[in-house]
Symmetry: C2
Subunit: 249 residues, 2 copies
């Protein structure tokens, strides 16, 4: 089975690298950004092209959501499985005369950060059992956590990830803004943050909740509101309201 | 120098344990909850009492914020330093004829979770240089990260921690609610969450932001809003608005 990766961003790079590390290197990495492709090609020792897409059994489209449809039209090989890697696009965003699928890695990728590929959950969708099996095996070569999915399910997976990852990161940004304003190094908070996350590996997050809102400590809540303004104040109020609703305070 | 711990909750337990592990066991653990005190006393092999507070050089008050003032009135020894361990109370909440101080460990404590005490930042306040030095040394026996503070600074430290810890945990609770509704195991998201946090040990959170809001992906934002309601919808809108303001989108 031969695989081609389309794209040159973080997902393309890490999937290509994961395949190379597992001794099933992609036959080609294809895209528009020659500089990026060349860098990936040299690092991973795989061919690249910006012009001629090679024939392959599997194509993994690893481009931004808004570009998936256009890119999918470039693939002419009929006897192939074409999978996009988006958490939020339906399978039929793919436009071409081939078998369609989804190959969604639930992880946040940065080019410079090393990732333990074996722990990344992969969610697979395909139009038929045979393709599902092929993609399941491909993902299983990379990861221990491979599951079938549906578009409906994937929408909620993506939404959960937005709360648990994107929003969490934004809270770190707003927290850092507060500590920066007082010249308190944000690094001081890393042990606390690490512990907050270690906890939920063992305890339900609902049981792990601490802080003034769940204690219904009006004095602190009012004091804090006076220290905040604009978006941070809006977040403070919205989060506290949600905490108090969850615990019926 | 002799230390007494007052309280039998998570902070009391972990401070007592940290002192025992560093071979400066408290002379006594004192409080109202005999059952808890007895358990801590047996585990750590230190005396406890619910009635007679022994004389000591240092008293560390490790009780809930609302109980600190009352508890502080129980201490009769004049030649002593009494420190509370709260992130949010002023030093003069302490009511008694002794020298007052603050000994604030910036960490979230659960009784059952092991904690690497040497990494916990401690913030010290005292009324005079000598007491500051004594408490600084006591904290330094436990941790590598001991710093002087002020009440003003401590308010912002606590507020930063609310964003980076309490609110983050609540996002995990709301995320789990979403994944539970679709029978998707929340464990699938732990590698993603771990990676989100590992990232900010190396990159500024502002540079690490991903997700539909920072990409200004209207299609996904609207799709997600349709999947949510009540508090989770309010969080979704507030967080996205804040992200888009931060990146001037």
């Amino acid at each position: 089975m031969q695989t081609v990766i389309i794209g040159s961003g973080n997902v393309a790079y890490h999937l290509a690298k994961a395949l190379v590390e597992n001794k099933i290197p992609p036959a080609q990495i294809f895209g528009r950004n020659e500089k990026e492709l060349k860098a990936i090609s040299q690092e991973l020792n795989i061919p690249y092209s910006t012009k001629n897409l090679v024939d392959s059994d599997i194509y993994l489209i690893c481009v931004s959501d808004h570009a998936v449809e256009d890119v999918s039209e470039l693939i002419a090989k009929k006897d192939s499985v074409v999978a996009h890697t988006s958490g939020s696009l339906p399978i039929d965003i793919l436009k071409g005369d081939y078998r369609k699928a989804v190959f969604y890695p639930l992880q946040t990728f940065s080019k410079l950060k090393k990732i333990e590929y074996s722990k990344i959950p992969f969610f697979i969708e395909a139009e038929n059992e045979e393709d599902r099996k092929v993609l399941f095996e491909l993902a299983s070569a990379i990861s221990e956590n491979v599951m079938e999915s549906t578009y409906e399910k994937r929408k909620y997976i993506h939404l959960t990830a937005v709360f648990a990852c994107n929003f969490v990161n934004h809270l770190f940004s707003r927290a850092k803004e507060i500590s920066d304003s007082q010249e308190i190094p944000f690094d001081y908070f890393l042990p606390l943050i690490d512990e907050t996350v270690r906890k939920i590996h063992e305890i339900e997050p609902k049981s792990a909740q601490t802080g003034p809102a769940v204690r219904n400590d009006r004095r602190i809540l009012e004091l804090h509101e006076k220290l905040l303004k604009d978006e941070s104040l809006a977040i403070y109020k919205t989060m506290n309201h949600s905490i108090q609703k969850m615990y019926e305070l």
